[in-house]
């Protein structure tokens, strides 16, 4: 049996090996998700076409749904009401973080020499969130196995954060590639923005706490910074599962 023939000509590669080319059948949401994983450059390309607002809307919706699905796994650690509280908080937190960081992303892309429109920047950010949420869904079975085998809130929190960092790493890579696609002169501005976005998301986990552990109140009354909250959680004795 003969092996499949090698392609005679490699497609042109750009930053991070992204190929920016038109996406076939962009109206199909499932096709958008498939291309986001396999050919993210196509999604970036489509975000600069006429149907970009519709595509960006789909990406945001899919991103929030994906985060909410992962949230059910996060809530499974405690069960009960936390099964809907955790997805709601993760979805709300993601949306708030996007809204908080969107103005600075637009300004920073402009400062980076990118002649981008606001809708393109929105689309890139929504695509990044969507991509990271898809990866989180991929990690969900692993997280669920651990959540059923340990009572440690600190361990599960660290594990969820690790998965989130891996997911958002790919999302931020997509934003960086979008910047290159649009002719960014430097990557410094987007890197600084990435740091701001990550810090805001970290703080959001404390603002909307508790997400993993059960609580009688939906939101906390005491205000803390995320590092203080994390250290307290690590030093606290294990909480028994309810």
């Amino acid at each position: 049996m003969n092996p499949p023939p090698l392609p005679s000509k490699q497609p042109p590669l750009f930053a991070n090996n992204f190929v920016f080319e038109p996406m076939p059948n962009p109206e199909n949401p499932i096709n958008v998700l498939e291309n986001l994983l396999k050919h993210p450059g196509r999604v970036v390309h489509e975000l600069h076409q006429k149907q970009a607002p519709v595509l960006a809307g789909w990406l945001l919706i899919f991103g929030l749904i994906g985060v909410a699905i992962y949230g059910t796994v996060v809530g499974a650690q405690s069960g009960g009401a936390q099964m809907w509280i955790a997805p709601a908080k993760l979805g709300l937190g993601t949306l708030l973080a996007v809204l908080i960081c969107l103005p600075s992303l637009y300004i920073f892309t402009c400062l980076g020499g990118i002649d981008a429109q606001l809708r393109s920047v929105c689309g890139a950010l929504f695509a990044a969130v969507c991509l990271s949420s898809i990866l989180l869904i991929g990690f969900a079975p692993v997280a669920w196995i651990f959540s059923q085998s340990t009572d440690s809130i600190a361990f599960m929190g660290a594990l969820h954060l690790l998965f989130w960092v891996i997911g958002i790493r790919f999302g931020l890579r997509l934003i960086d590639a979008t910047g290159r696609f649009l002719g960014a002169r430097s990557r410094g501005h987007l890197r600084i923005w990435s740091l701001i976005f990550i810090l805001v998301c970290f703080q959001m986990t404390t603002t909307l706490r508790p997400i993993i552990a059960p609580s009688k109140m939906f939101l906390p009354t005491e205000k803390k910074f995320f590092l203080a909250h994390w250290f307290e959680t690590v030093n606290a004795p294990n909480q028994e599962k309810k």
Binding site: L99, I100, C101, P103, S104, Y106, I107, F108, C110, L111, G113, I114, D115, A116, R185, H189, I192, I196, V200, Q203, T206, T207, E222, K223, K224, F225, A228
Partner: protein
Amino acid sequence: MALVWHLLPGDCRRLVCLRRYHRTLASTAAVGFHCDEVSAADFSDLHQQRLAQLFGSGLSFKQTALAILMSFAIAAVILGALSPVTLFVLYNAPLLGSANAIVGHSMILLTHVFAIAFAGIMANRRLLDLLRRMTGRDATARAVLFSWLGGNLFLGAQLAWNLRPFIGSPGLTVQFLRDDPLRGNFYEAVWRAFQHLFF
């Protein structure tokens, strides 16, 4: 603001093409870059002849003032974009009347200091491309930039300290100006806030 918004997405050539905006400004406010009919290339050559005013940059007083105002405007835009983030930090900070008021105040103070310093540096950094084109020399452009940064950051921070309070302090009443505005300095206050937060 229109000037700033048109500057932000542009590259160096667009910066040099300020003449379009300068023409408008010159006709309305007489700021006078004198570049009504010059091309982009001529624009740089024209101003290279005006050397030996400050670091040999060739910038006139009016041009320097306009450039600094431009950097202030860009800094204002950056700060405006960061305001949701700082508002989020403020929301999460312990209240000034709570037990952790010192930590909260220190965090808010440092956040604002970093945000304003970042905006100022980025805004002045934005002028570097313009200065390079106008002076034709990288060393001169950097010298001018760092002198502006020194003025804006080092002295500006101390002036801001003298005009305190902006945020307020735990245990102190809200005043338009402190009774002893010249006492202490900005850098000591930032260091104390840093110590409260991390030590």
